[in-house]
């Protein structure tokens, strides 16, 4: 399909790829379909800018050849297909292919990219990973009723996508030592708990049984040693529900116990080492998926990890899985919905929400104390509330199966008294904590993610708005079109010392310098669409309106245009236009969720799956619980990949 509107060419390189996509070689090289038809087209329309003389946007086509040997090759062809298909390439100012020419190449290109995907998926690259710290702590708590000390576990490397990414979840000596120390600490605390008068979680009561009431004297007799094994059996049964345990584990635990006793340790101290083995065993800390196609218990584990943040599927799930009934459509839907409404799903909304929407950046904003002294004083409290607002908002939309575009435009938000005051919205009388409030009139701008203080603050510098950060955020999170990262050695734009120069002028280099304009023409206008909100998340009429001692100055200019060319003059219009991009918003959500669920960046091989999920949800308007369900129901969630 050709678009006749004049459009600015936009490079998609790297747009689908995460920073560390796994480099897949194809077992058998794939021939490009009808290469004899495609090649002349490329020679005529592409090579002059993407060939030996010029390589615009670092993209070269003449060297691709007629065989696809790796995922990198496949990505290139997919990109070419996408750009020709949307009419972005050849650029509008160049001679355009005729419809016949287009049809002749689009078909074989589609066929080629589909074939490549099929071949690659079958090579099964999903590597085993360990539980990350968050999952480990939650799993132990769910199983034993006691929380391990997470400070004894090393922090997971968290800067590459989600904390579920497989590549980063390796076991180093420090990591293993961490598991062992954490286990030892937990064992000690369990014993202290047992000896104390505190009420004990039901799991502990079950595991230790009568031992809870035995006196010290009784436990020091040799006869007492026989009570250890049954207790270890119950411990393993409880901790390892839904996980594979080795046949020799209990025997090993008993052996260690006896060794400890013979060394003079008392009954309880002799249980530490056995418990350490159970808690630090690779059978426990790794998420084990034995074959390419997961069995139902393994799928139940994935569901629990995703929606409850722990490898702790409950009785109901494990039962269905063992009876091989988990995947019947009716049961599966029911279970997903049940899980989304269970109290443990709070962990999902928090963990996924925080990471997807990058709320940790709130910790890195240094509020300018001179410009915003009042905010600086209260920032710690404000941060907490702002974060919670986003999480509760996301929870409300997903739980209630609202359409994806409510992420951009909603008639409500969820605030506590602090935020209600900060925003100037009404808070229901005689209520406490976070409450859903209806938005009307001028307050409607607080609907949707972009109206949230958290998003506005994390995309500022602490002193001023950053339209570039905001534009990038919108492209990544809502329009599924992450721009390529900034080139490494780009010279920094000098900060203008003049106080009353408009923000747009400060960033004017972006549009006047050719190498910047290609990307920034797509980014900056979106960021300017949010100018209604200042750097501290307050509504402003003038730039930096809330700075101490300032009145008047440069009026904000909230006009701009979307990548599709539609223009707007206010935030309200901006949000409405954005909300029309419901398919893109849905894709953004699905891609992010899939990435989080599968533990890797979303890439070429996932397009087919995502397309299918989108098509199936289109009729009902891309509802969020449905999208969530479809991600879990997709074959990728049930296989190692």
């Amino acid at each position: 399909m050709l678009h006749n509107k004049k459009r600015i060419s936009f490079v998609l390189i790297g747009s689908i790829l995460g920073a560390f996509f796994s480099f897949v070689s194809l077992a058998v090289a794939l021939e490009v379909d009808q290469y004899d038809v495609i090649k002349p087209f490329l020679d005529k329309h592409c090579i002059s800018c993407h060939g030996p003389d010029k390589q615009k946007a670092d993209f070269r086509i003449d060297t691709l050849g007629s065989t696809i040997k790796s995922s990198a090759d496949a990505e290139h062809w997919q990109e070419m297909l996408d750009l020709i298909n949307t009419g972005e390439m050849p650029p509008p100012e160049e001679p355009q292919p005729t419809s016949e020419e287009l049809k002749a190449v689009l078909e074989p290109l589609y066929k080629t990219t589909s074939n490549a995907r099929d071949v690659m998926v079958k090579s099964g690259n999903g590597k085993m990973r360990r539980m990350n710290r968050r999952e480990y702590v939650n799993t132990v708590y769910d199983r034993l009723g006691v929380t391990p000390n997470e400070n004894l576990l090393p922090v997971d490397p968290g800067d590459f996508g989600f904390d579920t990414f497989r590549k980063e979840l390796v076991v180093t000596p420090t990591q293993l030592l961490g598991y062992m120390s954490s286990a030892e600490d937990l064992a000690k605390r369990l014993v202290a708990l047992i000896s104390s008068r505190e009420s004990k979680p039901k799991e502990i009561k079950y595991i230790f049984g009568e031992l809870l009431y035995k006196k010290k004297a009784e436990l020091s007799t040799p006869r007492a040693n026989q009570w250890a094994r049954p207790m270890f059996e119950r411990f393993v049964e409880t901790l390892y529900k839904g996980k594979p345990s080795s046949i020799s584990l209990v025997g090993d635990m008993e052996k260690l116990f006896k060794e400890g006793r013979s060394r003079g340790l008392d009954f309880w101290s002799a249980t530490y080492d056995p418990l350490v083995v159970a808690l630090a065993s690779p059978n426990f800390i790794y998420i084990v998926e034995k074959r390419q196609a997961l069995d139902q218990v393994e799928i139940a584990n994935r569901m629990a990890l995703l929606l409850w943040g722990a490898a702790s599927p409950d009785e109901e799930l494990v039962d269905l899985a063992k009876r091989k009934q988990l995947l019947s459509k009716k049961d599966f839907v029911e279970q997903i919905l049940r899980m989304l409404n269970d109290k443990k799903s709070e962990r999902f909304y928090e963990s996924f929400g925080d990471q997807w929407l990058e709320l940790d950046r709130l910790d890195l904003v240094v509020v300018d104390k001179d410009r915003f002294p009042d905010v600086a004083k209260n920032y710690d409290k404000l941060k907490v509330s702002m974060r919670k607002e986003v999480r509760e908002f996301l929870k409300e939309l997903i739980k209630n199966n609202e359409p994806a575009n409510k992420l951009v435009s909603s008639d409500f938000t969820i605030v506590d008294p602090l935020l209600a005051k900060y925003y100037g919205v009404n808070y229901p009388r005689q209520k406490r904590g976070f409450q859903k409030v209806k938005l009307e009139g001028a307050n409607l701008v607080r609907g949707g993610l972009l109206g949230k203080g958290a998003v506005q603050v994390l995309t500022s510098t602490g002193s001023r708005n950053s339209p570039v950060e905001r534009g990038v955020y919108i492209l990544r999170k809502l329009l599924n079109r992450p721009p390529p990262p900034a080139p490494a050695n780009v010279p920094e734009v000098e900060d203008n010392k003049g106080e009353n120069v408009a923000l747009r002028e400060l960033l004017s280099h972006h549009s006047t310098t050719a190498q910047c304009a290609t990307c920034h023409a797509r980014i900056d206008p979106l960021g300017f669409g949010m100018e209604l909100f200042g750097p501290m998340g307050r509504i402003q009429k003038f730039e930096n309106q809330h700075e101490v001692g300032k009145s008047g100055g440069v009026r904000i200019n909230p006009s701009g245009q979307l990548p599709n060319g539609k223009s707007f003059n206010s935030y309200g219009q901006f949000a409405s236009l954005l909300a029309q991009e419901d398919e893109k918003i849905a894709r953004s959500y699905v891609s992010a969720l899939m990435s989080y669920a599968l533990g890797r960046p979303i890439g070429f091989t996932d397009r087919g799956q995502i397309d299918q999920i989108i098509e199936e949800s289109r009729e009902r308007g891309f509802k969020l619980a449905e999208l969530t369900f479809r991600v879990c129901a997709s074959p990728y969630f049930r296989t190692k990949n």
């Binding site: 085993m128 180093t172 000596p173 420090t174 080795s246 690779p282 059978n283 084990v288 104390k369 010392k497």
Partner: protein, 431 residues
Amino acid sequence: MSRFSRRNFIQTCLAGGLILPQFKSLCKAASGSPKIPTRMVFLGMGFGVSTKGWYPSLRQAGAEYDLPKLLKPLARHKNDFSFIQNLSLLGEAPRTAAHAGSLYFLSDASAMQKVSINTALPSVDQVAAGIIGDETRFSSFVLAGRGIVGRFGGHGGGLRSLSWNREGGHMSATIGAFELYKKMYGDKKTGVKALQARLRQKKSVLDSLVRELNSLNSKLSVSDRVVLDQYSTSLREIEVQLQRSFEWATRETNLPHIEPPTEKISGIDEVKLTYDLITLAFQADLTRVASYMMPTETILQDLKVKTSPHGMSHYRGDISVAASHLRDETNAELLSYFFDKLKATKQSDGQSLFDHSMIAYGSALKSRHTRANGPMIFAGYGGGGLKQGLNVVNPSGVTPISNLWLSMLRQVDKNQSKFTSSKNTVSEIFG
């Protein structure tokens, strides 16, 4: 410098059994007269430095150059260190790593092959530890300051330290001066017998974990077994460390008593203490190699600077420029302090620890986003044969930083002829 009791040495060697092959070198060392070992320190500062006022003029190459104004605190050491300008990492950082001042800084791994943060190539400090680290209680110190927050410290997202071990695995650091203190001084309380009993106990736990590992291994696909290998390697590594602790449990460490630091020590005080502890560790021969991923944020907090480290590194406006200058001056003061300490510590040949050490201080980031021609100060005499007091100027953008790393390795092993992307050695200093 510490002297092991020779009698202790030989007795333990004869007792045999518990000694792993690499410790046999200890026995060899006992027979000859001890040569004073060379020490190495690798300091990574993360974010680059101020563009103006840190680098000496490129036109003043050689011994006659004006010390840049931000480095005035180093004036008293000017004859004993050199600038090496225009060193670059030849390998690329991943495209999202805009502020990766320490990523592959000590190895230039991405110049050699496709790597990722968890699986790369050994860093120079670990290669050095492989050469000179087996004779000491710790083969190396891998350190990081407290409060470093990934990419926002300017070191690179997800970085745990400056070091990658001999298998190319990214290493975790001892975080903070308090932890380092505990590592060095901690074991004194437990009696030897009790310590050995505890170590034997731990070994039993490890043996059980090996059985757990084997049971899982048999159930896994081939590619997952490769993953499980990491667990196995980690177990072995812990076992080796355990054996080492066992070995060293009977030895004196000769560490002078110092006031225990507070647990929360951070920022400028922490850097000072870290420098103190490294000096003491070298003196007591607890280790001969150290890498240190230095804090930025906590230093800025101590200086009561308003900008975040990231903002400072982009110095938008007067406030951040002043912050950048202040940070550079402070780091120079701290470095000068370190050199003072090393110079004040005497060795058995009458020279100082500084004379027997080599200290490299720099970053892969020049400033802001630029990852080429980064800052590098190189100090010390490495046991002899080095010239200092120079402004070494290389051609821009093409001189691999690994030239310096190779030069340092050659100082302890003349057989080293290449280190990753190295093309040459720094002959102006190393001859």
